[in-house]
């Protein structure tokens, strides 16, 4: 899943997932100052409970109140369910607005996310080789208009997700089209102009989805809002993105992209049909574009409206330090199965020695302290893409590189040996972002000390994504601070999105392969892993990652991320959905 967090020093876009097999513990979110268990960041959400039924009640919870949620960069991406693939909007969408086939719920005892049914009565029934999934759709679920949600609505939503031209930001490109039968040819209702296709069919109240290859992880994919109902005929992509219709406990009262999202109670939502969601607060008010400093002050102050406020932006290190002493119960830490990395442009930086030198040159500790990250709280050492705890993951020894190790001499030596001394690294710099401006200085110093020539490419916060990150023709050759989060704990949601080649010319952007990594051999091997029996895939992904990282080093891992957020004193039940690294909205209520 694309990563949307307070990209402090840098910026990120990323993906997220959960382990297809194996139980495992740890990775839970905990209040206050305890250290987070960093061994199991990715091993989350693997629990399943197909029997769970609604309604959900939280003991002692009160109704009423409006929760204000502050964010710096949020709400800039589409909230159309088919186009929704960023962690922040996914958490809001899944938790409050859009119902889908399945959903996650946080187990208060283990702190783990558990996959439970949502619109479907169970977690789906596969055929023998996982090439056909059947979901029985629940009765009594209504749209916010009061109309019944039918199996046809759900089927249409699923078909709509295959339109990756209309919804280039959505998950369909990575899951619907590659896995669904005929997904390579059928381009969706808007692009192909018809809903006639082979994959999705309806039989009474059952939705049947046929696969082109085994897809044992489908129940996890079913938790994406894209795998939910869409009202056919009322879903013009441009208009629907501004006012999508709700099936969850809240509906949209007011929405201004990049600014505010105001939610109010959806009276048509019936708790008896929903095994996961609750409806305690009267509404939510999301405010985007608020500076981190301001958010920190609101959280620290805990005055007036601040008491019913929360944020999903990481608080800064100095605020964490103060709150640890003064109000430890208002700090929430947790994990997110996300990895930040530097993405050297594979088309431009062709020599692996340069990428290795870059790995040794990066000033990990200095960047973290300038960026406001707190090592071992929201930044854990990384030497690979997959977060610890993902099934089948191999601990990779990356050319002997230690935890957050910076060795300019070694970098210089590598550059000298390969005849690249003075190689010019061009990286983005947002001139109107103070912290980014400071990080830029830190990076320049480290790169020059390692024998690189460092050239920041000036841009602004507003143009950063369009001009640099998603623009294959940008002059930068290293995209800094990219991020990816798993969709579910399987290598299949890490390796293909980040390392599978993308036809940049046709797509006009990188997709999610920000390093523009392109090796036919790797593409071939990725396809081979998909052909393997389900139970062998986990180990195969682990091995493939090791091979990719040690043979090509397409990305420079920066850190695996954690979450450290805060809330006002009247917000209750704020815990981290460690599958998204975002608030578990389903558990929140407001005390008087």
């Amino acid at each position: 899943m694309r990563f949307r967090k307070p990209i402090v020093a840098l910026s990120a876009a990323g993906l997220l997932a959960l382990a297809a097999c194996g139980g495992g513990d740890g990775g839970s979110s905990n209040n206050g100052g305890e250290k987070v268990d960093r061994e199991t960041l990715g091993n989350v959400g693997s629990g399943q409970d197909p029997e769970r039924e609604g309604p959900v009640e939280i003991e002692g919870a009160q109704e009423g109140g409006i929760a204000t949620v502050y964010t710096q960069v949020g709400l800039t991406t589409s909230i159309d369910p088919s186009d929704l693939y960023y962690t922040d909007t996914s958490a809001i969408g899944s938790g409050l607005l859009f119902r889908s086939l399945t959903q996650y719920d946080r187990d208060p005892e283990t702190g783990q996310m558990v996959l439970i049914p949502d619109l479907a009565t169970d977690l789906g029934t596969p055929n023998e080789d996982f090439t056909e999934w059947t979901f029985e759709i629940r009765d009594g679920v209504r749209w916010e208009t009061g109309e019944e949600v039918t199996a046809e609505d759900v089927a249409y939503g699923i078909i709509r997700s295959m339109d990756n031209k209309t919804f280039p930001g959505g998950p369909g490109l990575y899951f619907s089209n590659p896995y669904f039968l005929g997904g390579d040819k059928y381009k969706g209702p808007f692009t192909s102009g018809t809903t006639e296709q082979e994959a999705v069919s309806v039989d009474g109240n059952k939705v049947i989805i046929k696969m082109s290859k085994p897809f044992p992880d489908f129940p996890y994919y079913g938790s994406f809002p894209a795998m939910g109902p869409i009202p056919e005929g009322e879903d013009d992509p441009d208009e629907y993105a501004l006012r999508p219709m709700s099936t969850g406990p809240y509906k949209i009262k007011e929405y201004t992209p990049a600014k505010t999202l105001v939610l109010e109670r959806n009276t048509e939502w019936d708790p008896a049909t929903d095994p996961g969601r609750t409806q305690y607060p009267d509404g939510y008010e999301f405010k985007a574009g608020v500076q981190i400093d301001q958010i920190d002050q609101i959280m620290l102050g805990d005055k007036g409206e601040g008491q019913t406020s929360m944020t999903y932006e990481d608080i800064s290190a100095q605020t964490y330090r103060t709150m640890q002493n003064e109000a430890p119960d208002r700090v929430v830490t947790g994990t997110s199965p996300c990895t930040y990395y530097y993405a050297p442009d594979y088309r431009k930086i062709k020599d692996i020695k340069i990428r290795e030198a870059l790995m040794w040159a990066l000033p990990y500790n200095d960047l973290m302290v300038t960026g406001g990250y707190i090592p071992e709280v929201n930044a854990f050492p990384a030497s690979q893409l997959m977060a610890p705890g993902v099934a089948g993951r191999v601990d990779i020894d990356l050319f002997g590189h230690g935890e957050f190790e910076t060795d300019p001499d070694k970098a210089k030596q590598l550059l000298e040996e390969s005849g690249n001394l003075g190689y010019e690294i061009k990286f983005p710099w947002r001139t109107d972002n103070d912290i980014n401006t400071k990080s830029k200085d830190v990076l320049i110093k480290a790169l020059e000390a390692a024998g690189f020539k460092a050239t920041p490419v000036a841009t602004t916060e507003a143009k950063f994504e369009g001009d640099i990150i998603d623009n294959p023709d940008s002059e930068v050759n290293v995209r800094s601070g990219m991020g990816w989060c798993q969709d579910w704990p399987s290598g299949s949601t890490w390796i293909p999105p980040v390392f599978q080649s993308v036809d940049i010319k046709e797509l006009g952007q990188f997709g999610t392969n920000y390093a523009a990594f392109n090796e036919p051999e790797v593409d071939q091997k990725i396809n081979e892993v998909f052909e393997l029996p389900a139970e062998e895939q986990a180990d195969a992904w682990g091995k493939l990652e090791e091979e990719i990282m040690t043979k090509y080093l397409p990305i420079i891992p920066y850190f695996h991320s954690g979450v450290v957020v805060a809330h006002g004193s009247k917000i209750q039940g704020y815990e981290i959905d460690n599958n998204l690294g975002m608030p578990a909205y389903k558990d929140i209520w407001i005390s008087e």
Partner: protein, 335 residues
């Protein structure tokens, strides 16, 4: 040669009291003599001089003390060497004792030296304020002179322009203009720093010349009807000469006064604009230091007090000095 009323007055007074005969002193000389006797003015002048010298010698001082404001400097300590995991310095304030290595402490998060940043920030402040003051004075004088001396439509047009700029919401205009100018040159990184710097000065000048222009125009209007100007016109002195030789010397007082009072205003304005995040993204500025330090006030008050004190002392000294200059040049004040 024109004789100003002020000089005549002084001369008359001196003769009337029967004191020593007055040698031919220009009004400026008299003003300077009066200024020298003003203790407050001398103390402020001394302060300004010290700060100017500090600013000029910034590279020497930081070099000698081995401190750096620019963390990308190869010899500067890296963040992880001098900061803890929360971003606070592990040597010097706020949590450790005073150290001569970094007398004013280190900035949290980056580890740049506060003293070094302060010195370079002073430099920026002074260069910006001085350039802006001189330029706006020049423009104000030129427009005031031309508008006051030329009757008819030139005067009307210039007065209209002056009024228009005066009535413009200048702060809003500055906020809106700065990013536009910067984005125009944003592509070229080498140019960007210079452009931001020049933009700041230009913006200060654009909205800083009007009051002087009005003042000068008023003075010229009254002087124009005086006998010595009319005499000059009658005997056919060229206009240029009338403007520069006859009128300008009589305008020294308002010009010097405006200049000296504009300086502190521009220092404060530069700090304010930088605080609001305008212009200088990569050049040290006291205003930006204040902006950075805000969020650290509860834990690290020194970090905020350093730039605030520097701006305060500089503007206060310049203001008091400006007041004294005005008093010295104003013939109506007597001490």
């Amino acid at each position: 040669m024109a004789i100003t009323p002020a000089a005549l007055e002084e001369g008359v007074v001196a003769d009337a009291t029967g004191a020593e005969p007055v040698a031919g002193k220009s009004p400026t000389q008299i003003a300077l003599r009066r200024l020298r006797k003003d203790k407050v003015a001398m103390f402020c002048a001394f302060l300004v001089l010290v700060m100017t010298v500090l600013a000029i010698l910034a590279p020497v001082i930081t070099g000698a003390m081995n401190i750096y404001w620019d963390v990308s400097h190869p010899d500067a300590p890296t963040g992880s060497e001098v900061l803890d995991v929360y971003g606070f310095p592990i040597i010097g304030p706020p949590f450790n004792g005073f150290t001569w290595e970094h007398p004013l402490g280190l900035a949290p998060r980056t580890g740049s030296d506060n003293l070094a940043y302060l010195l370079y920030g002073l430099r920026t402040s002074m260069i910006v304020a001085f350039s802006a003051a001189v330029l706006s004075t020049f423009i104000g004088v030129v427009i005031g002179l031309v508008s006051g001396f030329s009757r008819g439509w030139v005067d009307r047009v210039l007065s209209f322009i002056t009024d228009m700029f005066l009535s413009f919401p200048s702060l809003l205009a500055m906020l809106a203009l700065a990013p536009i100018i910067v984005s125009h040159f944003g592509g070229n990184l080498d140019l960007l720093g210079t452009v931001q710097f020049v933009t700041l000065i230009v913006i200060l000048v654009i909205f800083g010349w009007m009051s002087l222009a009005r003042l000068i125009r008023g003075q010229v209007l009254s002087l124009r009807e005086r006998e010595f100007i009319q005499a000059a016109e009658v005997i056919g002195v060229p206009t240029r000469q009338i403007l520069f030789k006859e009128l300008l010397p009589n305008l020294i007082a308002p010009i010097v006064i405006t200049l000296s009072l504009n300086l502190p205003a521009f220092v404060a304005l530069e700090a304010g604009l930088s605080f609001l995040g305008l212009g200088l993204s990569d050049i040290p500025s006291l205003g930006k230091m204040v902006s950075d330090a805000r969020t650290y006030y509860s834990d690290y008050p020194l970090f905020l007090w350093v730039p605030v004190a520097a701006i305060g002392v500089l503007t206060l000294a310049l203001n008091l000095l400006g007041d004294s200059v005005r008093d010295a040049f104003d013939p109506r004040t007597r001490r």
